[in-house]
């Protein structure tokens, strides 16, 4: 029998291509969504991994600086480490962020490392799995070792000329060199290597990023660590391996977000599968009845049908995987922008399509397909064969048991109730990790279970039957089975759109208000090449030149100057920006939006205490009055926290202290002045701000970036919008999948209901009226989705703003409904829904009355 069915499959497909194609397409879309998000997540993680990876084989300890800055481990530390007891090998390493390699006509980004081969402490062949070619003379005179993949992309071989340079440093800083060797490189490990001294020269500063240490005996790590700590001041010791774990944690929130958004797409796709399998099975009801009548057991028919669904799932996965890979490729830039904005990392270099991810996507597709199909297969096979065969009644929906009628809305209401509880009373909601997302998931599933019941309530509707559209509406509400599944898919998409857009809108409005409140100075000066704002100043770690400081000090319009120094440290494993400003400045208070007692906080800040950012306070459980030990060589006592300030610019955490105090805790290199990374200028009363900006720009030329506070504010908002762009993409994805689902569903409905359409034609309806009827059905689907989805979206917004956001990001947001955006999205949903209905309506209008003939 199985063989018979398989042999009949092509013929069946030719007879009803839409019914066969529909589940396949639905599965393809779901698999594509999962795959693309997985690929992007992995690419992001690999980028992070690459920068945190311990590259020496068998290293036990990693020596890093107290301050997260390039070159923060002094060169002299290396011989000191080598001399320490118990140290077998010590490999000095620097990380070349944003390394670019190119030929005359091609170029590539590649993670770059400066390593030391001459000491033999870094084992190139061992670290990279051997099999490479290396020309030592070329390497020691500044040549670069490339992974084979990159060499192929550039079309170079060992000893070919290339140039190397750093991102953002401009073409002038490029240096010519040779390819010193190539090596195969495994996936995710495709770095380029340069001799340490040349890497330092390329970066233009001395110092190491870390020293990777192997101890003589593995069991002796702890004594060695103690010995190193006492001998070498001003460094931090990490067990190798902790770095990566911390990195993964750093990303957790971001990845979870993407994952949650892709789960929404998957949920929508599962409804699609359910709907399409339902339609496909309904069309074959008589065939199923026939098998049953001919003696096939219930189980046999069920297994057979599920087997078919599995085949379709595989076909769908095969189709969806390239689509997902393409979508991931197309959105790589946006994700890359998000990551570099949020996490101060370099850009993502490229996607690697790992077989296990592809397998995962296929598996998810198969499971979703089977889960979507199982209820329907069960329902069809448990009918008595005779009802399946009765021709006049085959198209009628079965009278469902009360359990099936009441179960979903009751369960849905319960799930929504739990979510509403969490949204309205976040305090009493269990604050487990992920419980906010759990509540959001419950909300979406609950909302998806409601359309059926709402449609049943609306079934009392009887007005407007005189218009074709009205009759379509009536048909839609009288037949929940023909409206519920596509509405459920659209409900989920709409709820997600509303929730995410309102979260982002709230965030943006809060950020905007905060910027307006805290950008107190008139003009901001930073090193050229930066995007501006405290965040990017901290990330760039480039200081203003003495000349810039002089010119800004001498400007006739400048009343006060607030100089900023920035560096990064690690607190409990996560990077934290330390920002030094002039605490005594009269206007100082305006720079901060303080949570709680403002007077006391600012008084303390003026007396050498700290102001910590809200995300940092939340993460470490800090409040005013607590003491916080800062990792600094000169710190002899913990500093007191004067207060907590709102900070929407830095998720990782930041703290402010007086700049003079900062310079004493983190003294500059001997013989150099303490670096200044930015200057905020307050102008005299009545001074022309625009004129001052123009004048400073002219005198400072290329050496600095001058913006007034309005420009800085809009720039920060731009960065924010860029950061959120990736969620925009996923939102569009979910809406498109849902609209496709609605369209495909209506399409099968047209085929399923050809006799009904034909009847209308026979009773005198013209083509326009038939199309109008389908328009009415579409309007019900869209209307119900907007109604339920909008309500669920509002609850979702509360959840995201009050539950998910504080736990995952640590910000306090003011709720703000972006009405304009929501209205536009509502219009987009209506448009997408109607577009989805257009083709089926056209198809329906082509059905003519002779379609009744099949049954006459």
């Amino acid at each position: 029998m199985i063989r018979l069915l398989l042999r009949a499959a092509p013929a069946r497909f030719r007879a009803a291509p839409a019914l066969g194609l529909l589940p396949v397409l639905a599965i393809a879309l779901g698999a594509g969504a999962v795959l693309s998000v997985q690929l992007l997540n992995r690419a992001a993680l690999e980028t992070l991994d690459a920068s945190l990876e311990v590259i020496s084989a068998g290293a036990d300890l990693v020596v890093t600086g107290l301050v997260e800055e390039a070159g923060s481990v002094p060169d002299e530390a290396w011989p000191a480490v080598l001399a320490a007891p118990g140290v077998r090998r010590a490999a000095p390493v620097i990380r070349l962020a944003g390394l670019r390699v190119g030929t005359l006509d091609r170029e590539a980004s590649v993670p770059g490392w400066g390593v030391d081969l001459v000491s033999g402490s870094f084992d190139f062949a061992g670290a990279e799995g051997g099999e490479g070619t290396l020309a030592p003379e070329a390497f020691f005179s500044g040549g670069i070792v490339l992974p084979q993949r990159v060499a192929d992309r550039l079309g170079v071989d060992p000893l070919d000329p290339v140039w190397i340079g750093l991102d953002g440093a401009g073409p002038a800083s490029r240096r010519p060199t040779l390819v010193a060797g190539t090596y195969p490189g495994e996936d995710g490990r495709a770095s380029a290597f340069l001799d340490l001294a040349y890497a330092q020269a390329l970066r233009g500063r001395p110092g190491l990023d870390r020293i990777e240490v192997s101890v003589a005996e593995r069991s002796d790590v702890e004594p060695t660590r103690r010995a190193l700590s006492t001998r070498i001041p001003g460094v931090r010791m990490e067990e190798s391996g902790t770095l990566r774990a911390e990195g993964a944690e750093l990303f957790a929130a971001f990845r979870l977000n993407l994952l949650a958004l892709s789960a929404v797409s998957l949920l929508v796709a599962a409804f699609l599968v359910y709907a399409s399998v339902r339609a496909a099975l309904a069309a074959r009801r008589q065939e199923i009845g026939l098998y049953r009548a001919l003696g096939a057991s219930r189980r046999r028919v069920g297994v057979l049908l599920l087997g078919e669904v599995l085949l379709m799932a595989l076909a769908g996965a095969a189709l969806g995987i390239p689509v997902g890979a393409l979508a991931a490729g197309a959105s790589l830039d946006r994700v890359s922008a998000t990551i570099s904005n949020l996490y101060l990392l370099e850009r993502i270099e490229g996607l690697t399509i790992a077989p296990q991810v592809v397998l995962l996507a296929a598996l998810v597709a198969a499971v979703a397909a089977l889960a979507g199909a199982a209820p329907q297969v069960f329902a069809e096979t448990s009918r008595a064969p005779v009802t399946l065969l009765a021709p006049g009644r085959a198209a009628l929906s079965p009278a469902r048991r009360r359990f099936w009628r009441l179960g979903p809305p009751v369960a849905g209401t319960a799930l929504i109730g739990a979510a509403v509880w969490a949204a309205l009373d976040p305090e009493s909601w269990p604050a487990l990790a992920g419980s906010g997302f759990g509540a959001a998931g419950a909300l979406l599933i609950g909302a998806a279970l409601l359309p059926d019941a709402v449609i049943r309530l609306a079934a009392r509707f009887r007005a407007g039957q005189n218009s074709a559209v009205g009759r379509g509406v009536l048909a839609a509400v009288r037949e929940p089975g023909s409206t519920g599944p596509p509405a459920a898919a659209l409900v989920v998409a709409v709820a997600m759109l509303v929730g995410v857009s309102s979260l982002i809108g709230s965030f943006r409005a809060t950020l905007d208000a905060w910027l307006g409140e805290t950008l107190a100075a008139d003009v901001y000066v930073s090193r050229a090449g930066g995007a501006g704002g405290a965040r990017s100043i901290a990330s760039e770690r480039r200081s203003l030149s003495a000349e810039v400081l002089e010119i800004t000090a001498a400007d006739p319009d400048v009343r006060e100057r607030d100089l900023l120094r920035a560096l990064r440290i690690r607190l409990e494993g996560r990077p934290v920006a330390v920002l030094g400003v002039d605490a005594a400045l009269p206007a100082a208070g305006d720079r901060f939006s303080i949570l709680g007692n403002r007077e006391a906080a600012l008084r303390g800040f003026g007396n050498g205490e700290l102001l910590v950012s809200e995300p940092l306070a939340r993460r470490l459980g800090l409040e005013a009055g607590d003491a916080l030990p800062l990792p600094a060589a000169a710190a002899d006592r913990p500093l007191r926290i004067a207060g907590v300030y709102r900070d929407y610019g830095n998720e990782q955490g930041a703290l402010f202290l007086d700049r003079t105090l900062m310079n004493s805790l983190y003294p500059p290199e001997p013989g150099t002045p303490a670096p200044v990374h930015g200057a905020a200028l307050y102008l005299r009363e009545g001074a022309d701000r625009a004129a001052a900006v123009t004048r400073l720009e002219r005198t400072l030329g290329m050496s600095a970036n001058v913006v007034d506070n309005a420009a800085l504010r809009s720039r920060a908002l731009n960065v924010f919008d860029q950061t959120m762009a990736v969620t925009g993409l996923l939102r569009v994805f979910a809406l498109v999948i849902a609209a496709l689902g609605v369209g495909l569903f209506l399409w099968t409905l047209v085929r399923e209901r050809a006799p009904e359409v034909a009847l209308n034609r026979a009773l005198g309806a013209n083509r326009r009226q038939v199309a109008g009827g389908f328009l009415g059905r579409t309007m019900v689907i869209v209307g119900i989705s907007l109604l339920i989805g909008g309500g669920a979206g509002a609850v979702l917004t509360l959840l995201l703003v009050h539950v998910v956001n504080p736990v995952w990001f640590g910000w306090t947001l003011t709720l703000h409904w972006p009405l304009g955006v929501l209205a536009a999205q509502g219009a987009a949903v209506v448009l997408a829904g109607l577009l989805a209905g257009v083709l089926p309506a056209r198809l329906a209008s082509r059905v003519d009355a002779t379609a009744l003939r099949q049954e006459i």
Binding site: Q465, N466, E756, L759, N760, L763, G764, N766, A849, I856
Partner: protein, 243 residues
């Protein structure tokens, strides 16, 4: 008075999968006067349904002309033809074709909804509210007690009686019935046939009835047979072996 239906030299051919042509109706001519009942008998596959479809304007003849009342179908656009079919013709099918999710009364009212009329001509030609007409028809077919029931809950005989009420709602001048009893048991078939002829005669509508049931065919004023694509008079009932 002009005839309600006039087919002149109508030919209907289908092209078959192998490219050859199948002539189902071959120069068929037929005229039905108001109040006249005509039955067409013939084997399954002889073209009875095709004849009815051509008469209803659902199918277009390959050659020949079809006139419904004063209108020639070939000259009409799709909306005009749909409108004419809705008001001038009533259709009854073998498989009833009710809309399952509508109530019995809503099914009966469907033609009025499609044609957007609120009033229909009553017995004396005076306008009557369409809802009242539906109720009268439901009473006439014995379903007044089940008006608010969804159509899917009806038995076969009840479904067909509903379909007859629906076909007569707009007081069509011509009723086309394709095997109206073909899917019913003997008692149900008898009741439906009685109803059909009584109501048609009461309204002096024309009736074109396709059936392979000789007993039903015999009740018509004019009895025809379709064979080889041509229409013949069938004065005698079929050979008694068929009974």
């Amino acid at each position: 008075m002009s005839p309600v239906l006039e087919l002149r030299e109508v030919t209907r051919r289908y092209s078959q999968a192998d490219g050859s042509e199948l002539t189902v109706l071959d120069s068929v001519s037929l005229t039905i006067q108001p109040g006249e009942t005509v039955s067409v008998a013939g084997r399954s596959g002889s073209g009875k349904s095709t004849l009815l479809h051509v008469a209803a304007g659902i199918e277009v003849p390959s050659e020949g002309t079809v006139r419904l009342g004063a209108k020639e179908l070939a000259g009409l656009s799709d909306p005009e033809r749909s409108r004419l079919r809705g008001r001038f013709v009533g259709l009854v099918f073998q498989f009833f074709h009710l809309v399952p999710y509508l109530t019995v009364r809503e099914n009966v009212l469907l033609p009025a909804r499609i044609a957007r009329v609120r009033e229909v001509p009553g017995d004396g030609g005076d306008p009557r509210e369409v809802g009242a007409t539906a109720d009268r028809l439901l009473a006439a077919v014995g379903l007044e007690g089940r008006a608010r029931e969804p159509a899917r809950r009806l038995s076969g005989g009840e479904m067909q009686r509903t379909a007859i009420a629906r076909a007569l709602l707009l007081r069509p001048a011509l009723l086309l019935a394709d095997e109206p009893t073909g899917n019913l048991d003997a008692r149900g078939a008898g009741a439906v046939a009685d109803l059909l002829f009584r109501l048609v005669r009461e309204r002096s509508a024309g009736l074109l009835l396709a059936t392979h049931d000789p007993e039903l065919a015999a009740r018509a004023d004019t009895r025809l047979r379709l064979r080889g694509g041509r229409l013949f008079p069938a004065e005698r009932p079929l050979a008694s072996g068929a009974r």
